[in-house]
């Protein structure tokens, strides 16, 4: 290899390292200070903690209701994702298979939701009329609706790629309508299902405006409670940082196990071919 090429690669490695530091330093600041005392943590130093203050983490659970935030988050995110997948895959099945006008109309009807933002205030009125404001049901319905457009879009595309002859073979063998979908088509949709489950899960977990407009603070997911906690304990950065670390753990677990699906969800449709 020419020395010039080597120098080029070395330069790239070095540049990337500097860029990576911009992302690592803030994370380290949070992690290191989450184990320090108030006096140390409020200086935001980057030094290694002298004495590990595990008590900060205990306080996050006892005073910051971290457990409630975690459970709310897991409950809301999982329920919304499961319902979206159920509804969107069935809708996509009809849209991609039926040759009627309704299917064509429904496709564009859902797609409009990808660009148009939701109308928050009238949604609030509808929730109010249905007596669903400040309830988990209302929240879940709004979350599900929010991720329906992209889910229907991706499911329709994936189902179109599955040959109709498979359906016909199953029907000839006497397979019923629901069974055709559940046992023949749905199992083939695993990649897109996984991707959408994770994207919806993360979307709900990190949501700000829906919860702020429609829910009371005891129903908030973990990241929302972090902000609330910060409002009350802004003089004690050590506990605030500990709270942040707790809120990051589920995201990192999801990322480590589902990296492939997250990336493919982000890049879906962005790459030609």
């Amino acid at each position: 290899m020419l020395w010039k090429q080597r120098f080029n690669i070395g330069l790239r490695e070095f540049t990337m390292l500097l860029i990576a530091l911009l992302f690592i330093i803030p994370t380290w600041m949070v992690l290191a200070n989450s184990f320090k005392t108030v006096a140390e943590a409020n200086q935001y130093g980057l030094s290694f903690p002298a004495n590990f203050q595990w008590d900060n983490y205990r306080r996050v659970f006892s005073e910051g209701h971290a457990l409630r935030g975690l459970l709310n988050g897991i409950f809301l995110s999982t329920t919304s994702s499961v319902i979206v997948i159920f509804l969107a895959s069935m809708g996509g099945f009809f849209i991609s298979r039926s040759r009627g006008k309704l299917a064509k109309f429904a496709y564009f009807y859902f797609i409009s939701g990808i660009i148009l933002p939701g109308a928050i205030i009238p949604s609030y009125i509808i929730l109010y009329i249905l007596n669903l404001t400040n309830t988990y049901y209302g929240l879940i319905l709004v979350f599900v609706t929010g991720s329906l457009p992209i889910s229907v879009f991706l499911f329709t595309g994936s189902i179109k790629a599955i040959s109709r002859e498979m359906d016909e073979a199953a029907i000839v063998d006497g397979c019923g309508k629901l069974r055709l979908f559940l046992q023949v088509v749905f199992p083939l949709l695993k990649p897109v299902t996984t991707t959408l489950f994770i994207l919806t899960f993360l979307g709900v977990w990190n949501d700000v405006s829906t919860q702020l407009f429609f829910a009371k603070s005891t129903q908030w997911t973990m990241p929302m409670t972090v902000y609330n906690f910060f409002g009350k304990y802004s003089k004690e950065y050590n506990v605030v940082f500990a709270d942040i670390i707790i809120s990051l753990v589920p995201i990192l677990i999801v990322y480590v196990f589902a990296q492939k699906y997250i990336i493919s969800g982000m890049t879906a449709g962005a790459v030609k071919g």
Binding site: R12, E13, M16, I19, A20, L22, F23, P26, M29, V30, Q43, Y44, L46, L87, M90, G91, F94, S98, R99, A103, A106, Y109, G113, I115, L116, G118, A119, I121, P122, I125, L141, T145, L148, E165, E168, I171, F181, L202, D207, V208, S209, F213, P223, M224, V226, Y227, S234, Y237, V240, S247, L248, I251, Y255, I263, M266, T267, G269, A270, V271, K272
Partner: protein, 294 residues
């Protein structure tokens, strides 16, 4: 082969649940907002709203906070669209050169995009802290103490501080999309160009950019919609302050909703929706025309 025999197996019952839910919480609210924006509805006359014509819109365009919010939203969107795309493409080009730690770098830069803007804003509150935050501490240490500011309390820097945080958060998403597009460009195009003696810059402009233009369209659109809709980042870091200097349309909407002005905030929301749609469609149409087939 497509006969009535198979077609009746695709019953409309599959579609109805999602169609009803989507109508109830998306389409109907959007239609309702067309009407609500023209009423004097507040929580104080909840039972008795009246149509008041264009009053809400006139009030909105006269409001100086609205003007600031409108200007800030565009400022935020334009700067973040440019920065996220240039940096995202730059990082992707560097990483595409088969570095040893490509995957690790990609993860490090991308993970912030998976965090809630509120959590990120709490972290940046510490970074921007006037006395001891690491940004000012760094500036002081390298001898640039004249540049140290009260980043979030100074109307001159608060908006840019929010913008910097947003770029930090989401540059990873754009990088990941560019990287996927770059990896899909056929290698032999570059080899052919190199044989013909094309310089690295020529290769970038004549091969890479045209072939990843679809990704540029997607990234621009994502950044524009994200930028115009921005809410959590501003709400978390400054909540519109100091002195409304960082107010954007999203926070302005939340503020008027919080004051119980249902009709007025619907009008703001309606204006907001039309704005985002118009801009998105125009940008999409223009950029689609610039894409090449290969």
């Amino acid at each position: 082969m497509y006969n009535r025999f198979t077609n009746k197996h695709y019953t409309v019952m599959f579609l109805l649940p999602s169609l009803i839910l989507f109508s109830l919480f998306f389409i109907i609210p959007n239609i309702l907002s067309l009407f609500m924006g023209f009423t004097d509805w507040t929580i104080f006359n909840f039972k008795d709203p009246r149509f008041n014509g264009w009053t809400n819109f006139m009030q909105m365009f006269r409001s100086s906070i609205f003007k600031t919010a409108f200007y800030n939203t565009f400022y935020f969107a334009i700067i973040t669209v440019i920065a996220k795309n240039i940096l995202g493409l730059l990082f992707a080009v560097i990483l595409n050169g088969k570095l040893k730690l490509t995957n690790l770098h990609r993860s490090i830069i991308f993970v912030p995009a998976l965090l809630s803007p509120l959590v990120v804003s709490v972290i940046f509150n510490a970074i921007y802290h006037p006395a001891d935050g690491i940004l000012n501490a760094f500036l002081n240490k390298v001898g640039l103490s004249f540049m140290a500011r009260e980043w979030l309390n100074d109307p001159a820097t608060a908006m840019n501080a929010v913008i910097a945080m947003d770029i930090w958060s989401f540059v990873g998403t754009h990088m990941v999309i560019y990287l996927a597009a770059l990896q899909a460009v056929p290698r032999d195009y570059y080899e052919a160009a190199m044989v013909d003696g094309a310089s690295p810059f020529q290769r970038l402009v004549k091969i890479t950019i045209p072939l990843i233009f679809h990704a540029i369209t997607v990234n621009t659109l994502l950044a524009i919609i994200g930028g115009l809709k921005v809410f959590g980042q501003v709400y978390g870091l400054t909540n519109g302050g100091p002195f409304d200097s960082t107010q954007v349309l999203g926070t302005f909407l939340f503020k008027s909703f919080g004051e119980g002005m249902l009709g007025y905030s619907s009008a703001v929301g309606l204006f907001f929706t039309l704005l985002i749609c118009t801009i998105s469609f125009v940008v999409l149409a223009v950029m689609r025309r610039m894409e090449v087939e290969y």
